[in-house]
């Protein structure tokens, strides 16, 4: 769709070289996969073998992020941007429905009879298979045979055995599991939930996670950390590998993990538990049954693949029995084919009797099969993590999460024909409110401009020529500003009134009135994010102004050092925010220098996990911001100080004013406009805070440090709900605009008074 303004801008862009990958001589098939560790080794080995067997095909591996959530986000962006590569995606079992529903995958068209039924079921969307199972994962309990006589049957027994072993031997941890805020937390919770006889979604697809059984399951998980205290609070930021390291170094009695850990624990030369551990099914409570979450990965072919047939040949090769056996041997991954379980070499490959685990695999519990899974799971992660980090009781956290999950499920069912018109009618008032707010802001701007003396214009020929030249010189800049800033803003407003969900393109983009605004305004997460952002603005900007003023006054007195310090002060301003954030992240890791310093000074307990506490997690964020921007504020104020005439101070001294009075009656009034400017720039800047939080805490624990920009980013690029994201964009803009308007008025008044 051609937009005239965009076209102008694109012409400018044409001047810049747009590089696109050139055509290669051989047909090229690209596969995305893990780039580190044993997984990367086995894939590289097998791709090399495929190349040797098929010299006519160029096979390239495109590395993907290791964490499931980041890989998911990247895949969504790839598919959504319709890039042609990679041809083959490595999908987690829980993503398939979403990707197939969005039309991002080609049907697999590969024979699946030999595959385990549960793994096969996870490839089906609306009766068709869209992927080939690659390997399967099940959650299991690892336990130390030298510390525990027999594996526990119930969770209470698990905690009692763990506590007893800790008491007896002084071992650091009783039980370690994955409780960071990510998909892994849901898999652990699902095992507890099944153990208590609960489910996430009922047979009819309704949300049942907040049932009495669900609350009991979450309470039991909470008890492991806070009541029985067998699990360290550190698990709240642990994923698989941190738990494996703890267990492998002999520091834990029990661990919940996937099968991959087995071969590492048994064979890694660094392992301190080889020969002293075993596996068992997860425990259960009375009334429930032992539950293993079904995980695993599949290979699927992108709908935008350039050579689908070649890609299919590669998928067939990678999922053949020999390859699966090799993968089991090299990476400890369980085969997805039934025939491989009968293979005599499998026991040697994985290190234990395969039938012990085949039983668990065949009865493993899948996570809900729905295209909305990612959003449902992220909501559940937040709820569970909030309870585990003591921000809410298990019951309250679970019921809030379940309400949000019900809203997501019902939005999924929303078709324009079913709800569109009535929603539009019901919310017409809100449209008018937003339009009114936009109109009011324009009127306010105009009102502010009035009352300024207009320069009298002479209409000589020379003046007209000058004006013409001025507009000519301004034209390119205006084109950019209009085309890339103002036009997009209008477009955001337009999109915010429409249903616009990139994951569900078949719904089209019907007008829905203020539905998106209603959804946003009804969401507690939005108000929380807005409040937190404003709190962050107040805290960091007032700290920066106070410290900056102090520094500027100090620097104003030291003439020789000023140049050197000024140079140094520019450095924090110039370094990338991401870098500052990483530095402070490391400083406040449990063993980091900042955390050690704070515990040495007695401010917090030793071993305090800063990033799992809803209040403490803010401290590194605010500190990083203050560190990065205070010097710059000080420089601004210093420049302002230098404009205050010395005579004023001298006159004040003659009048007998002391240092404090001079500060109060000479310095501060003289700095007034500079302080206001610094205040405006800093608070509008702090309101946009994104990079710092993205790197430091990702908004966690729960959503305790999530600012409005991060929330909006998530709605846009994780949930791909562009309509709701557009509504958020407009609201953020209006808040910023309001702040700016107030400030500009303040400055105007100060100029009049001065």
């Amino acid at each position: 769709m051609p937009h005239p303004i965009l076209a102008v801008v694109l012409c400018l862009a044409g001047l810049l070289v747009g590089c696109s990958p050139g055509g290669a001589a051989l047909p090229r098939v690209t596969v995305s996969g893990s780039a580190s560790g044993a997984e990367a080794d086995v894939l590289a080995t097998q791709l090399a073998r495929f190349r040797k067997q098929n010299p006519g095909i160029d096979v390239v591996m495109i590395p993907a992020p290791e964490t499931a959530d980041e890989r998911h986000q990247l895949y969504v962006q790839w598919s959504n941007a319709r890039v042609g590569e990679p041809d083959i995606l490595q999908l987690d079992v829980v993503w398939l429905q979403e990707f197939a529903a969005a039309g991002w995958l080609l049907p697999a068209e590969i024979e699946l009879d030999d595959f385990l039924p549960a793994a096969r079921a996870a490839t089906i969307y609306e009766g068709r298979s869209y992927a080939v199972p690659w390997f399967v994962d099940v959650g299991m309990l690892y336990y130390r045979t030298d510390l525990v006589e027999r594996p526990p049957a119930t969770f209470d027994e698990l905690y009692a055995q763990a506590a007893a072993a800790q008491e007896r031997t002084g071992i650091d941890y009783g039980f370690v599991f994955q409780a960071a805020r990510y998909e892994g937390l849901v898999t652990v919770f699902l095992e507890y939930l099944g153990g208590f006889g609960g489910v996430i979604l009922g047979p009819d697809g309704s949300v049942e996670v907040d049932s009495e059984r669900g609350v009991r399951a979450l309470t039991s998980l909470y008890a492991a950390i806070h009541d029985a205290k067998v699990a360290p609070p550190a698990v709240l930021s642990w994923q698989e590998e941190q738990t494996r390291f703890a267990f492998q170094n002999g520091r834990a009695v029990f661990m919940r993990n996937w099968p991959y850990a087995y071969s590492l624990l048994a064979r890694d030369p660094a392992s301190k538990v080889a020969g002293r551990f075993d596996i068992a099914p997860m425990p259960a409570a009375p009334g429930g049954s032992p539950t293993a979450t079904l995980g695993g990965q599949q290979l699927a072919i992108s709908a935008h693949a350039q050579h689908p047939e070649l890609a299919r040949a590669l998928v067939r090769f990678l999922t053949a029995p020999e390859q699966m056996l090799e993968r089991a041997r090299m990476a400890g991954h369980l085969p997805a084919r039934r025939s491989v379980y009968a293979h005599p070499d499998l026991e040697a490959a994985i290190g234990f009797e395969p039938n012990r685990i085949r039983e668990i695999v065949e009865h493993a519990t899948p996570r809900p099969l729905t295209p909305a899974y990612t959003e449902l799971s992220q909501t559940l992660q937040l709820g569970v993590h909030r309870a585990l980090t003591r921000q809410a009781t298990p019951r309250a956290a679970l019921s809030a999460a379940a309400d949000e999950m019900r809203r997501i499920s019902s939005a999924l069912a929303l078709g324009p024909e079913r709800e569109g018109p009535s929603a539009a009618r019901g919310s017409a008032a809100l449209v008018w409110v937003v339009l009114g707010a936009l109109g009011a802001s324009v009127a306010a701007a105009v009102w502010f401009r009035r009352g300024r003396p207009r320069p009298t214009r002479s209409r000589s020929r020379r003046a007209r020529a000058e004006a013409r030249l001025a507009w000519l010189l301004l034209l390119p800049m205006l084109a950019v500003v209009l085309g890339l800033a103002l036009f997009p803003l209008l477009r955001a407003f337009h999109d915010s009134l429409h249903l616009y969900d990139l994951r569900r393109p078949w719904l089209g983009r019907p007008f829905v009135g203020a539905l998106n605004y209603e959804t946003v305004v009804a969401s507690a997460r939005f108000w929380g994010a807005l409040g937190r952002t404003l709190g962050f603005v107040v805290a960091s900007v007032s700290l920066e102004l106070a410290l900056g003023l102090l520094l500027a006054l100090g620097l104003h007195r030291t003439f020789r050092a000023r140049g050197a310090v000024r140079t140094l002060a520019l450095v924090p301003w110039a370094i990338p925010t991401v870098v500052a954030a990483l530095t402070f992240r490391f400083a406040f890791e449990t063993q980091g220098p900042g955390a050690l310093l704070a515990s040495t000074l007695g401010l917090v307990e030793r071993g305090q996990n800063w990033f799992s506490d809803e209040r403490l997690a803010w401290i590194p964020i605010v500190l990083a911001d203050v560190w990065k921007t205070t010097p710059f504020v000080a420089l601004l104020l210093l420049a302002g100080l230098q404009t205050i005439p010395k005579e004023l101070y001298e006159a004040a001294a003659v009048d007998g004013a002391g240092p404090l009075q001079r500060l109060r009656y000479v310095t501060l009034p003289g700095l007034r406009s500079v302080i206001l400017v610094a205040l405006i720039f800093r608070s509008l800047d702090a309101f946009r805070v994104f990079d710092l939080v993205y790197v430091l805490t990702q908004g966690g624990p729960g959503v305790a440090t999530e600012p409005i920009a991060l929330y909006t980013f998530g709605v846009l690029l994780q949930y791909l709900d562009f309509g709701r994201g557009a509504a958020l964009s407009v609201l953020v803009f209006l808040v910023t605009f309001g702040m700016a308007l107030v400030y500009v008025r303040l400055i105007g008044r100060s100029e009049v008074n001065a």
Binding site: L473, A485, A492, A726, T736
Partner: protein, 270 residues
Amino acid sequence: MNGRLGWIVALAFAALLALPLGWVVLASLSPEHVLFGGGGLGIGGLSLEHYVSLFARQNFWLPIRNSLVVASATTLACLAIGGGAAYALARLEFAGRGLVLGAVLAVSMFPQISIVQPLYALLRSARLIDTYPGLVLPYLTFALPLTVWLLVSYFRQLPSEIEQAAMIDGASRMRVLVSIVLPLSLPGIVSSGIVAFIYCWNEFLFALSFTVGPERQTVPVAVAFLRGRHQVPWGEVFAATVVATAPVVALVLAFQRRIVEGLASGAVKS
């Protein structure tokens, strides 16, 4: 407050600024076992292993190239488009000047997250996601107003007598602009360009939103994504941190006086 107190403040300030930076440089040179040994970092046994692995294993040249291309292209475009505009706003008389200046200032304060959605939709329909123009165009939205703002305040500092004299001698405005103003204002243009370059080099949100993979990721995004699946390779992260920071710090040290003057005069006078 006497002079000695001032010195104390200045020294404490310098230490607080320099400490984390020095520490990061030291950490990037410390072998893994020292980094996580629990003891302090020492200067004994420094090694370049993290840098070697950063470039050999992670191919960190790629994001550096991307950042250089995007930041330089944006800076040049800003100076080309913004130079004339800034001169018009600083020197020429025309109706609506205040409005344009206000609009430039307003756009420079835009919350960037507000235009991620529409820009993404536009770039997507133009198939510009994950391309260099797909980053340069969004970058113009913040770098261009910034450049214009800095250049306006710089042009206003230049004495206008020379220009007036030239015009009395019959030179046109355009002629004055090219052969008098341009050479005179070269220092201001350079320092504005450097500030724009630094902002582009450090930008994160747009780079994260409008690229989809390592092929076009810029340095800040690549640094943020260095985290591994289950643990953070802190040694490599610190090395990457130093590499990402070194160019901007070098620019700042080389041009600090001009940058401070430009930024401070823009703020003090506005």
